[in-house]
């Protein structure tokens, strides 16, 4: 059985595991950690649209993440219901992504990186300083979680399932996007922008739409984050958050969809679970990143696939070569 045909059963197994997670994990703390992994995976997947498929490295995505969260939080504080808050959050993030795109696409490469960094920092600065609106570093409290169709989301398993649904929706959308003509043209602009231009594609527009798409899903993860913590403060928009998201994407592997998910899992587990056992977890996280780069520069997931293939081939060679070598075709 070669690894390719193992893919479908593997996916089915993964889905079953995810769907039954609250049962086999048990403790609500770990269920909550799983919810966090999923919501950061959505963030990482959104960022990967630009970084992996668009070739545009952004260090300002925390700004978009925060815009969605703050918009919803402030709407809730003003007395509106959850539906209005969520819709506002998504609209605000789309508008912000449009602004980001208009400014950042004036440049590419490090220029793009710097502009997005600056924009992220500006959002952070506004969140801190415009205290009459955002309550500054005291943050905004969100007392309740939404209750769609009367389902209560305040306990860990229920919130986990809601997050899982949104996560699966995101993965599905990402798969559609990757296989679509739009996805192909985005990859084209990443690899050969000039040629795409010559072929008549509007490179700027393709990138801009990708930023909107990425921004939308970033906003979704921002809303999930808001409801998970039921609190938002300016630190959410800090450079560190953008850097962590970028690290999730790069360490997991930008060329795949599984990569950012794996990266998100590594970072969230290190920060939240491993930090309980290892005091210097930051150091260990750094060492893990360096190790990944040294042994698997393309990322964790493609790297594991590579080792698996190498290992499988070596395994097959060891088992069957003698027999195969002496096989003679039977006479007709």
């Amino acid at each position: 059985m070669n690894w390719r045909s193992a893919r479908t059963p593997a996916i089915v197994l993964a889905l079953v595991a995810l769907a039954t997670l609250p049962i086999w994990v048990g403790n609500p703390y770990y269920i909550n950690v799983s919810s966090q992994i999923l919501l950061f995976a959505v963030f990482a997947l959104a960022l990967n649209v630009l970084v992996g498929y668009g070739g545009l490295v952004s260090l300002g995505h925390a700004g978009l993440f925060a815009m969605a969260g703050y918009a919803a939080a402030l709407m809730l504080q003003a007395g509106y219901g959850h539906l209005a808050a969520i819709l506002t959050g998504l609209l605000v993030v789309l508008a912000s992504a449009a602004v980001f795109g208009l400014l950042a696409l004036r440049s590419t490469g490090i220029g793009f990186l710097m502009i997005t960094l600056a924009l992220g920092q500006i959002v952070w600065g506004i969140a801190y300083r415009w205290a009459s609106l955002t309550n500054g570093d005291n943050g905004v409290n969100v007392p309740t979680r939404p209750a769609p169709f009367g389902l209560v989301l305040s306990n860990a398993p229920a919130f986990y399932y809601a997050t899982l649904l949104i996560f699966l929706l995101c993965v599905g959308t990402m798969m559609l996007f990757v296989r679509s003509p739009f996805g192909a043209s985005l990859r084209g602009t990443r690899d050969q922008a000039r040629r795409m231009n010559a072929l008549g594609y509007n490179v700027w527009l393709i990138r801009f739409v990708a930023i909107l798409f990425s921004g939308l899903w970033t906003g979704v993860s921002g809303l999930l984050f808001l409801y998970y913590n039921q609190f938002i403060s300016p630190q959410v928009a800090a450079l560190q958050t953008s850097a962590e998201a970028l690290l999730m994407v790069i360490s997991g592997g930008t060329a795949t969809l599984l990569g950012p998910i794996a990266g998100a899992a590594i970072v969230v587990i290190m920060k939240n679970v491993v930090s309980a056992y290892i005091e210097r977890w930051n150091l260990v996280l750094g060492v893990i990143f360096v190790a990944i780069i040294t042994f698997m520069p393309e990322g964790l997931v493609p790297g594991i696939v590579r080792f698996w293939k190498l290992g499988w081939r070596a395994f097959r060679e060891r088992r069957a070569p003698a027999a195969l070598r002496n096989v003679v075709e039977p006479p007709p």
């Binding site: 490295v57 502009i115 600065g125 990143f289 780069i293």
Partner: protein, 294 residues
Amino acid sequence: MLVSINANQAAILAVNSVSLGGVLFLLSAGFSLIFGLMRIPNLMHGSFFMLGAYFGVTLLDQKIGMNSWLAALLSGLAMAVIGGAIERLLLRRLAGQELPQVLLTLGLSFIVADLCLMIWTGDPWQPSPPAQLRGAFQAAGLFFPIFRVVIILVAVAIAIALWLMIDWTRLGAMIRAGVDDAPIARVCGIKVSQLFTLIFALGAGLAAFGGVVGSPFLSVYPGLDAEMLPLALIVVILGGTGSLLGALVGSFLIGALFNFGQAMLPDLAYVILFLPMLLVLVLRPQGLFGKVQA
């Protein structure tokens, strides 16, 4: 919104702008060269600055009592060795791959930050300036700290030394060739890989030297690396990558923007450095003195 300042305050701010600019130059000159020549966004540059400053703290500790300049030089040399090793062993394998370089340098910066916390604890350290340079001289009733003025001279001296090296020596010519067109430089027989190691080491050493020189003024504490790195990025973006003159002008410009901006436009304090950078990037992406990339 706009706070007015009087002439006395303007004088103090002007002097401080130039001395902050001096420290920023030492920090960003290396980054500019590294990015200009090697196209590596060295996200551990702030870590070199901070680690160098911590080395300085240990060397300047009363028990060892080394001369401040000697401490700065030693720290710079130590960091140059470390930087060279990192380039040779880890970064070289990632030539041209921007994202893995980002991951590697960020991962290394986590490691350095945590090691510094383990070794030097979370307490802030602020070494005293060299004995002869303590105190301030008074002019027109205002105090100008001597040490800060001397930093300006040191930064300018280093800038001149770097300029002489780059514009007047054979090594400098090779570096300039590498910055302009690395593949062709290789074809001409220039050992570009060795140059890369040298430049990375030089950049790291300069940052460390800057860290020690700046420590009586900025102090040394966990988180210094994360504060300094965006400043280096802003200077290099404004001034243009690969250009020493750009790094110099950019540093003084940022020093002035920081000082006068924080004083006169306190509401914009958080964004006072990013707004001009944004403007430059949007209007003139190659920076003030950079060359348009092919």
